[in-house]
Amino acid sequence: MKQVDCEDVKRNVHEFLHSELHEDQLEVITAHIANCDSCEEHYDIEIVFNQVIQRSCDEAPAEELAERVMKRLREIQDHD
């Protein structure tokens, strides 16, 4: 991957953000983004999108769940 166009760069946004690119790809794409407003914007929105998803999924279990699970595990243990 020596030469990339905007389409290539945009297609690789997820691999870029999830650190799944090879080093040479990473280099070429990083260089492209630094000089291309359109691709930079595309990456920015994907970052915001990811943060929004992370935030929305931040839900803690009820406290009783730990007790329920431990009770179940003790039952299993007593059957062993």
Partner: protein, 196 residues
């Protein structure tokens, strides 16, 4: 009063139970409601405890538990056959999934980011819950848990290439749903003329 705990239970409790919040988060996305999610977490821990002797110390415990959860969910809800890991959607070409990435102007992108950032968490979760299980879980594991593709592939028992395409398509489906919602809420995303 406290029943005595075997060595096995002590080691399981200290290693596996602290991962409960992560398991619950994933269970919520599998089941889409808190009460089923609690059941799934409990079943997953019960299965994992039963198989604790098979867990290889030093390997990735969270991934091991997530994999047990995948199987537990499938067995509990009998939703797919073992060999049906591939869904019909996997066979669709990208253009059929909709919302092609058009080259849009910088200001429009910013408007979309802003709109997205303002959407309530419940709306995001509802949208997530509307996309097919296999896509939703890949998005969840990649975006929320930050797991590498190879690990997600193991958890979901699919090839890495499938993980990659499900992440792309899952995000695309999600984004289309959220764009529709944002437009209904009055955000201008396409640079369309406002009716004023």
């Amino acid at each position: 009063m406290p029943a005595k705990r075997s060595e096995k239970l002590v080691s399981f409790e200290s290693q596996a139970l602290p991962l409960m919040p992560q398991l619950y988060g994933a269970a919520l996305r599998w089941t889409r409601n808190p009460s089923d999610a609690e059941d799934l977490v409990q079943e997953t821990f019960a299965k994992a405890f039963g198989a604790w002797d098979k867990y290889q110390q030093g390997t990735n415990l969270k991934a091991w538990l997530f994999r047990i959860m995948t199987n537990t969910h499938i067995n509990l809800y009998n939703k797919r056959n073992k060999d049906q890991a591939k869904t019909a959607l996997d066979d669709l070409e990208d253009w059929q999934v909709g919302s092609g990435e058009s080259i849009t102007a910088r200001t429009v992108r910013s408007a979309e980011a802003e709109a997205m950032d303002n959407l309530p968490a419940t709306i995001i979760r509802e949208a997530l819950d509307q996309i097919p299980d296999e896509f939703r879980m890949v998005v969840y594991y990649a975006v929320v848990e930050g797991l590498p593709y190879a690990e997600i592939a193991e958890i979901m028992e699919t090839p890495v290439g499938t993980v990659m395409s499900r992440l792309h398509r899952g995000k695309k489906m999600l984004r289309t749903l959220l764009q529709d919602y944002a437009r209904q809420e009055g955000y201008e995303l396409d640079g369309e003329e406002a009716e004023s």
